[in-house]
C-alpha cells in the first residue's frame, strides 16, 4: 500500500531543468529521506508534494485524493491537503504563543475549543514542552522551537508529515536526541514522513529508506545500510563518504575501483602477502579513537587505529576482503 505515488514529475525554472521525470512510491508509514547536494531538486520535489510549487508535468496521488495531475490540470490547494510540515527555520509565527501556533490548524478546522485544548496539551507533552504554552517563540531555544514545530505538525493528526532539514539548524548533540524522538513519535503513530536533507548523518539517523538524488533524478533508492555499503557509483560513494576508494589491484582482486570501508583495516606487526603496506601521513584523535590518514598504492586512505601513529611511518594492515565492493566509475 503506497501512501504517496509520485509519477513522471518534471519541473524547470527559467529553462533550467530541476526535476527530470521523477517516479517514486512512498510506502504507508515509512520514513523516506530525499538526500542530495544542493541544487539536486530534493527541496523542489518536497514542495511539489506539499503544493507550494506546481510541477510542469506529472502527478502526485494519495489513496484519499489526487494532489496534482497535470494531465487533468488538477491542483489541490496547499491548504486542503491536510499535511504536516516541519521547516528548517521552524516557520513559527512570532506574534503567536506556543499554544496559538499549535492550535492554528485546529482553529481553522473549527474544532470545539475544549478538544483543541486537549489536543494541544497532548502533543506538547509528547514533545516534552508542557508548561511552555504561553511563551512566544522568541523565548525558546532552537531545539524547543523545532519541537513546537513538530508538535504543530502532529496536532492535526495528519497521515503525512513533510520535513525540510528539520535538524540542520541544531547543534550536533541535540540533533541526535531530537532525531531519535522524531523517529519514535512518527513510527508509533504510523505517520508517513518525507524528509529532505543534504546531511548524510541526518538521513542515516531518521530514515527507513533513502532516495539519493543528483541533477534532478533519483540516483539510488535503498535502505540506509545498503546505500552506504553498496553505493552504485563513484559519485554516490564520494558524496556519502562511504569509505576509501582504491583504484588498482587490491590483494588478489582484479584491477578496478574498489570501495574499502574504514573498518576493513586491521593493523598488524609483521607483514606478509595478505597484507597491504600503508605510509602514514597524519594521525588525529577524533571522538574516542585515532583516525589515520595514509597512502596505499598512491590512493589516499582513511582508517581507525587504537594507538597513535607517526607521520611517515610505514604500517601494515590486514584487509577484511569480504566487505570490498567494486564501484562503477
Amino acid at each position: 500500500m503506497n501512501a504517496i505515488k509520485i509519477s513522471q514529475i518534471s519541473k524547470s525554472f527559467e529553462s533550467k531543468r530541476i526535476l527530470n521525470d521523477i517516479n517514486l512510491d512512498i510506502r504507508q508509514g515509512e520514513f523516506l529521506t530525499l538526500l542530495g547536494p544542493s541544487g539536486c531538486g530534493k527541496t523542489t520535489l518536497l514542495r511539489i508534494i506539499a503544493g507550494l510549487e506546481r510541477p510542469d508535468s506529472g502527478s502526485v496521488v494519495t489513496p484519499e485524493s489526487v494532489y496534482v495531475d497535470t494531465l487533468n490540470q488538477h491542483q489541490l490547494p496547499v491548504s486542503q491537503r491536510g499535511l504536516g510540515y516541519v521547516f528548517q527555520d521552524y516557520g513559527l509565527w512570532p506574534h503567536m504563543t506556543v499554544y496559538d501556533n499549535i492550535a492554528f490548524p485546529l482553529v481553522l478546522k473549527k474544532q470545539p475549543k475544549h478538544l483543541i485544548q486537549q489536543q494541544v496539551a497532548d502533543v506538547l507533552q509528547l514533545v516534552k514542552l508542557s508548561g511552555h504554552e504561553t511563551k512566544l517563540p522568541e523565548k525558546l531555544s532552537g531545539g524547543q522551537k523545532q519541537r513546537v514545530s513538530i508538535a504543530r505538525a502532529l496536532a492535526a493528526s495528519p497521515a503525512i508529515i513533510l520535513m525540510d532539514e528539520p535538524l540542520s539548524n541544531l547543534d550536533a548533540n541535540l540533533r541526535e536526541e531530537l532525531g531519535l524522538e522524531i523517529r519514535q513519535l512518527t513510527s508509533q503513530r504510523g505517520i508517513t514522513c518525507i524528509n529532505v536533507t543534504h546531511d548524510r548523518k541526518e538521513a542515516q539517523l531518521l530514515s527507513d529508506r533513502i532516495a539519493l538524488m543528483k541533477d534532478g533524478v533519483i540516483h539510488q533508492l535503498s535502505d540506509p545500510v545498503t546505500l552506504f555499503q553498496k553505493p552504485v557509483s563513484r559519485w554516490a560513494s564520494e558524496f556519502l563518504n562511504a569509505g576509501n576508494l582504491i583504484d588498482g589491484k587490491l590483494l588478489n582482486r582484479a584491477e578496478g575501483m574498489w570501495l574499502v570501508p574504514r573498518t576493513a583495516f586491521t593493523l598488524v606487526q609483521q607483514p606478509n602477502e595478505a597484507q597491504v603496506e600503508i605510509e602514514v601521513k597524519d594521525c588525529l584523535f577524533l571522538d574516542d579513537r585515532f583516525e589515520v590518514v595514509g597512502e596505499l598504492h598512491g590512493n589516499r586512505v582513511c582508517f581507525y587505529s587504537d594507538r597513535p601513529l607517526r607521520a611517515n611511518d610505514i604500517v601494515y594492515s590486514a584487509l577484511n576482503d569480504t566487505v570490498l565492493v567494486p564501484v562503477a566509475s
Binding site: 507550494l52 510549487e53 506574534h95 481553522l108
Partner: protein
C-alpha cells in the same frame, strides 16, 4: 513566493494587485500625467489635442523661466556641495571622539529634521534682520548676508547637511576601522589614507546622499520664498507659485515649469538610485567599534567643530523661535519686561483661526496616517509577496512621490481635478488636501513596511497555508498582526510630517481653510511674528515627539 505564484491568476491576488495599482495611479499617476499632458497639449482640458507643443517653446524661451531654472540648479548645486563639505568634515572628526560623545552629537544633529525649513527661515530672519537678536548682541548687521544668494544657501545647508552627515559617518565607521587598518599595516600615511582609501570608498555614499539633498533643495519652497522674495530671487518652485496665485493665472505656464521641475528632480533621484544599486552592496557592512585613540587636541577640535555646527543648525534657530514667540513687541528686543506667554494663550482661544487650523491639521494628519499605512501594507504585500507580473509599474509608482516635488504635484492635482466637465471633484474641498498629503507621505509607510515584510521568512506564509489558511487568512492572521507595529510607527511619522506640510496646503486648501503651516506662514506675512512662532514651537515639539515615538516603535519591533 511560489506559494503565491501558484495562486497567481486567482481572483484574490488579482484584486490585491489591481487595487494597489489603481489607487496609486489615481493618487500619483494622474497628477503627474496631467502635468505632462497639459504642457504638451495646452487645450487638453477642452478635449482637444490642437496646438500641440505650441505652449512649450514660448514658455521655455521666456527669460524669467530660464532665470528661475538656472537659479534653482545653481542653488541646489551650492547647497549640495556645501552640505557635503560640512558633512565630510564632521563625519571625519566624529571618529576622533568617544562613543558617548559621538552619540550625543548625533542626537543633536537630528534636531534640524524636526524644524520645517519655512520655520527655520523665519527664525533666521528674526535672528539676523536689522535690529534683530544678533544685532543687539554683537552690533554686527548680518541682514545683507541673509537676504542674498549666499544667505539662502547657508540657511538651506544648515537644514539639510545632517542628511549627508549621517550617511557619511555611517560609511566612515565601516570603512574607517576595517579598510584603513589594513592600509595602515601596509604603510599608508594619514594623507594617503584619506585620499586613496577613505574618500574613494565614501564617494558613492556622498554622491547618493548629495543627490537627495539636491532633490530636496530643488523642491524646497519655504526658504527661497521667505528669504528670496526680499531680494527678488526667484527659483522654479516660487515661480510656479506666482503663476498660480497672481492674476492672471497662468496654468499652461505653471505646467511647463512643473514639467521642467519634475524632469530635474526625477533625473537626480534616478541617478541616486543608480549610484546606490551599483555600489551599495560592495562594502561589507561589518562594524567594529573600537575605542577612540586620538590625542586630546584632536578631540578638542572635534568638539569645537560640532559645537559650531550645532549652534548654527540647532541652537540659534530654536532659540530664535522661542524668543520670538515670547516677545510681546518684537522691536523692544529681549528683555524680561518684554516677555509674555500671551501668544501661547491666544493659540488656544478660538476666534483668531489658530484653534481651527490646529483641528484641521490634526484631522487631516490622522486621516492621512491611516490611509497611508493601510495603502502601504497593501502595496508592500503586493510587491514583496505576490510579485505579480508587471510589478515594476507598482515599483515606479510607489517611488515617484520621492522625486516629484510637492509644488509640481499640487499643480498636477489642480490640472486633474479643477475641470468643468467633472461631475464630482475633490477640488476645493478637504478631500484634495487629503489626496495630496497621502501622495506625499506614501513613500514613508511603503518603504518601512516593505523592508519589515522582506525580513519575515516565507515559511511563515507557507506554514499557514499548509495548516489550512487561504490568502485572506494569511494576510489577516499572520502578516497583518506582524506588521501592525510598523504600520503604527509609519503612521506616527506620517502624522508628524503631515501636520507641518506647507506647499500643498498653500496651493490646495479650499478657500477659508487654514492648516497649521499656512497659519504660521500667513501670521508671519502679516507681522504677527509671536503668534506664528508660538504655533511653530508647538508643531516642532508635537511632531518631534511623534517621530521619536515612531522610531522607538521601529527599534523595539525590528530584530
Amino acid at each position: 513566493m511560489s506559494l503565491y505564484a501558484n495562486a497567481r491568476g486567482g481572483r484574490l491576488p488579482l484584486a490585491f494587485n489591481a487595487f494597489s495599482v489603481v489607487s496609486l495611479l489615481i493618487i500619483i499617476g494622474l497628477p503627474v500625467l496631467s502635468v505632462i499632458l497639459f504642457a504638451i497639449f495646452p487645450h487638453f482640458n477642452e478635449g482637444s489635442f490642437r496646438a500641440l507643443f505650441s505652449n512649450l517653446y514660448p514658455q521655455l524661451s521666456d527669460p524669467a523661466l530660464i532665470d528661475a531654472t538656472f537659479n534653482s540648479i545653481r542653488l541646489a548645486t551650492c547647497v549640495t556641495l556645501l552640505s557635503i563639505a560640512v558633512a565630510v568634515v564632521l563625519a571625519y572628526v566624529r571618529n576622533k571622539m568617544s562613543v558617548t560623545a559621538g552619540r550625543f552629537w548625533d542626537v543633536m544633529l537630528l534636531v534640524p529634521f524636526l524644524i520645517p525649513p519655512y520655520i527655520g527661515s523665519m527664525a533666521w530672519i528674526q535672528m539676523f534682520q536689522f535690529n534683530g537678536v544678533w544685532y543687539r548682541w554683537t552690533g554686527v548687521d548680518f541682514s545683507a548676508f541673509l537676504f542674498s544668494f549666499s544667505g539662502v544657501v547657508f540657511v538651506m545647508t544648515m537644514h539639510l547637511f545632517p542628511l549627508v552627515y549621517f550617511s557619511a559617518s555611517n560609511a566612515l565607521r565601516v570603512i574607517g576601522q576595517r579598510y584603513s587598518d589594513v592600509a595602515r599595516v601596509y604603510g599608508a600615511g594619514r594623507l594617503d589614507l584619506a585620499c586613496r582609501i577613505l574618500l574613494p570608498l565614501m564617494m558613492p555614499t556622498l554622491l547618493a546622499s548629495g543627490l537627495i539633498v539636491f532633490v530636496l533643495s530643488v523642491e524646497e519652497f519655504g526658504t527661497p520664498d521667505i528669504l528670496g522674495s526680499r531680494f527678488g530671487f526667484e527659483v522654479m518652485v516660487t515661480a510656479i507659485e506666482e503663476k498660480l496665485t497672481d492674476w492672471p493665472i497662468d496654468l499652461p505656464g505653471a505646467s511647463v515649469l512643473s514639467l521642467n521641475l519634475i524632469a530635474i528632480a526625477v533625473s537626480a533621484y534616478l541617478l541616486q538610485l543608480v549610484v546606490n544599486r551599483k555600489y551599495a552592496a560592495s562594502l561589507d557592512a561589518q562594524t567594529i567599534t573600537s575605542a577612540a585613540n586620538s590625542s586630546r587636541g584632536a578631540r578638542l577640535v572635534a568638539h569645537l567643530l560640532f559645537t559650531l555646527a550645532a549652534v548654527f543648525a540647532v541652537i540659534l534657530p530654536l532659540f530664535s523661535v522661542v524668543a520670538a514667540s515670547l516677545m510681546s513687541t518684537v522691536s523692544h528686543g529681549l528683555s524680561w519686561d518684554n516677555l509674555t506667554l500671551s501668544a501661547y494663550a491666544d493659540l488656544f482661544t478660538s476666534g483668531n483661526g489658530a484653534v481651527e487650523a490646529i483641528y484641521t491639521s490634526l484631522g487631516l494628519a490622522a486621516m492621512t496616517a491611516l490611509i497611508a499605512a493601510v495603502l502601504g501594507l497593501l502595496v508592500a504585500f503586493t510587491l514583496i509577496r505576490l510579485k505579480p507580473r508587471g510589478k515594476s509599474v507598482l515599483d515606479v509608482l510607489s517611488l515617484m512621490p520621492n522625486a516629484v516635488p510637492a509644488m509640481a504635484l499640487s499643480v498636477g492635482l489642480i490640472l486633474t481635478w479643477n475641470q468643468q466637465y467633472l461631475p464630482i471633484t475633490p477640488y476645493n474641498t478637504m478631500m484634495i488636501l487629503l489626496l495630496a498629503y497621502v501622495c506625499l507621505m506614501l513613500p514613508y509607510p511603503i518603504r518601512m513596511i516593505t523592508s519589515a515584510l522582506r525580513q519575515q521568512p516565507f515559511s511563515l506564509d507557507e506554514s499557514a497555508a499548509i495548516y489550512g489558511a487561504d490568502i485572506l487568512h494569511i494576510v489577516r492572521r499572520v502578516l497583518l498582526p506582524l506588521m501592525v507595529p510598523i504600520m503604527v510607527a509609519s503612521g506616527c511619522i506620517v502624522f508628524a510630517i503631515s501636520t507641518r506640510e506647507l506647499v500643498a496646503s498653500l496651493m490646495l486648501a479650499p478657500a477659508g481653510t487654514e492648516t497649521v503651516a499656512t497659519y504660521v506662514f500667513n501670521q508671519f506675512d502679516q507681522g504677527s511674528v509671536s503668534a506664528g512662532m508660538a504655533m511653530s514651537l508647538v508643531v516642532i515639539l508635537v511632531s518631534g515627539a511623534l517621530i521619536a515615538l515612531g522610531q522607538g516603535i521601529v527599534k523595539r519591533y525590528t530584530p
